[in-house]
Amino acid sequence: MVAPGPASGLLVLVAESFLRQHSAEILTLTLEHLWLTGSALLFAAALGIPLGILLTRYGGLARPVLTVANIIQTIPSLALFGFLLPLPWLGERASRIAIVALTGYALLPILRNTYVGIRGVEPAVVDVAHALGMTGFQRLCKVELPLAASVILAGLRTATVTAVGIATIAAAVGAGGLGEFIFRGVASVDNRLVLAGAIPAALLALGADTLLGWLESRCKVPGPDRR
């Protein structure tokens, strides 16, 4: 039998000294990471939700627009960062590139879920909204958005988790964020550095996922099948 005592004690010691040494940097990079993903999500939502609504009004646009968003989604992230690098205004600041690229990745789930969520509202309910004399805007605000809210939030949640993950790659073009640690750790074969980037990133994703999941369940339409 191996006594766990001394070995794990040493590990804790090592971790502690590492943390003490790097705590300021962990905090800065976490905040940077939050800033990158947060602003990208804000842009993606500001673009994706209205665009998704527009697609429900002009059905013919849905296929081409969703296809484009799908294609953006399939570009390998490192390649997308690379493509954006030589662009004039964007290329000047790495964080701009990162935010634009992350917005692109976050767009599809938000756009798709907005479109699908609104299209999925029961036709009889939409019909009654028309029959009661709702204007298009009233129907959107009073019926379609509330009934699609949980689906739209689910899209936001997917987008957030994706963006938090992909943002670690933004460090490759010098945009900062927790990817800094990961890239440095890989370069210097130091797993402590890799973990110092990966663990906070995972916690961020988990936290955002939980928060949005809770919001999503709050937005569920009251009904017998409520979970």
Binding site: A124, V125, H130, A131, L132, G133, K142, P222
Partner: protein
């Protein structure tokens, strides 16, 4: 006082215009060609007198719902005109047109994310009326359709039985005090006992409104001949895209027209079989 001059006899045209005024809803040569070329409605001409209940009968797929939806422009005829209180509906703002008539459908017509109270006051809310009077209005409307306000106003639609939901749907349709009610198989999904209660409630409600001088013009689509006989002043039978009959309930049962006789024969078959054996 001078002696009143005798009223001039109205010309035929004037008489027709007077008739127009009395017709709350009027279909004039209304046809609907489906995209596949099939003709669903063919040259329908029909006038619903103000303050009366007209039941619209016919096979499934005969175009009853479509005809009803032409009144509030949820459907648009390919030719012909639909007039409401003498005005062509095509020339009106759809929003105003629709807020001016109640609409009740078979099922799921309530907004699932809103309480009964908010569902009921939706049309006044849309019109931007002050919410201050809403509580009192909810109380009156729910009482009118036989629901106790204190028990039901804060419930959600899924917490109601089918009959209660239809009562709320009717209360909502009445909220803006529209002169016209469009009802598409409102009780179609209910069991016979609940349906009978609903028919009594509706009949009583319409009679009370009539006594108050607020008679509603009702277009009621139904598959239930008995319901039509119980509630309607006129029964219209739609078949093959045409109006096959437009009769008072008393005449409908004994009409000779093939389509009507066939329709009537489709009812009470069990009764006849048991009676015959």
């Amino acid at each position: 006082m001078t002696e009143a001059a005798p009223l001039p006899r109205p010309t035929l045209r004037e008489a027709c215009e007077v008739h127009h005024l009395a017709a709350a809803i009027e279909f004039a040569g209304v046809s609907l060609q489906l995209p596949d070329g099939r003709s669903l409605l063919e040259n329908i001409t029909l006038a619903l007198e103000a303050g009366t209940v007209t039941a619209l009968l016919g096979r499934s797929g005969s175009g009853k719902t479509t005809l009803l939806r032409m009144v509030n422009r949820l459907a648009v005829p390919t030719s012909g005109t639909v007039r409401v209180h003498g005005d062509d509906v095509a020339g009106k703002s759809v929003v105003q047109l629709r807020r001016g008539m109640g609409y009740v459908i078979q099922d799921t017509g309530l907004f699932p994310h809103m309480t009964v109270a908010r569902n009921v006051t939706m049309v006044p809310e849309l019109a931007g009326r002050s919410r201050r009077g809403f509580a009192e209005q909810v109380r009156q409307l729910l009482t009118a359709v036989g629901l106790e306000p204190s028990r039901f106003s804060q419930r959600y639609p899924h917490q109601l039985s089918g009959g209660q939901r239809q009562r709320v749907g009717l209360a909502r349709a009445l909220a803006a005090e529209p002169p016209i009610l469009l009802m598409d198989e409102p009780f179609g999904a209910l069991d016979p006992l609940t349906r009978a209660e609903m028919q009594d409630m509706l009949r009583g409600l319409l009679a009370r409104l009539r006594d108050r001088g607020e008679a509603k013009t009702v277009l009621l689509v139904t598959h239930d001949l008995d319901e039509a006989m119980y509630l309607a002043d006129r029964i219209v039978l739609l078949a093959e895209g045409r109006v096959e009959a437009n009769l008072a309930p008393g005449d409908f049962l004994h009409a000779r027209e093939h389509a009507v006789a066939e329709y009537v024969c489709a009812f009470h078959r069990g009764e006849r079989r048991v009676g015959a054996s």
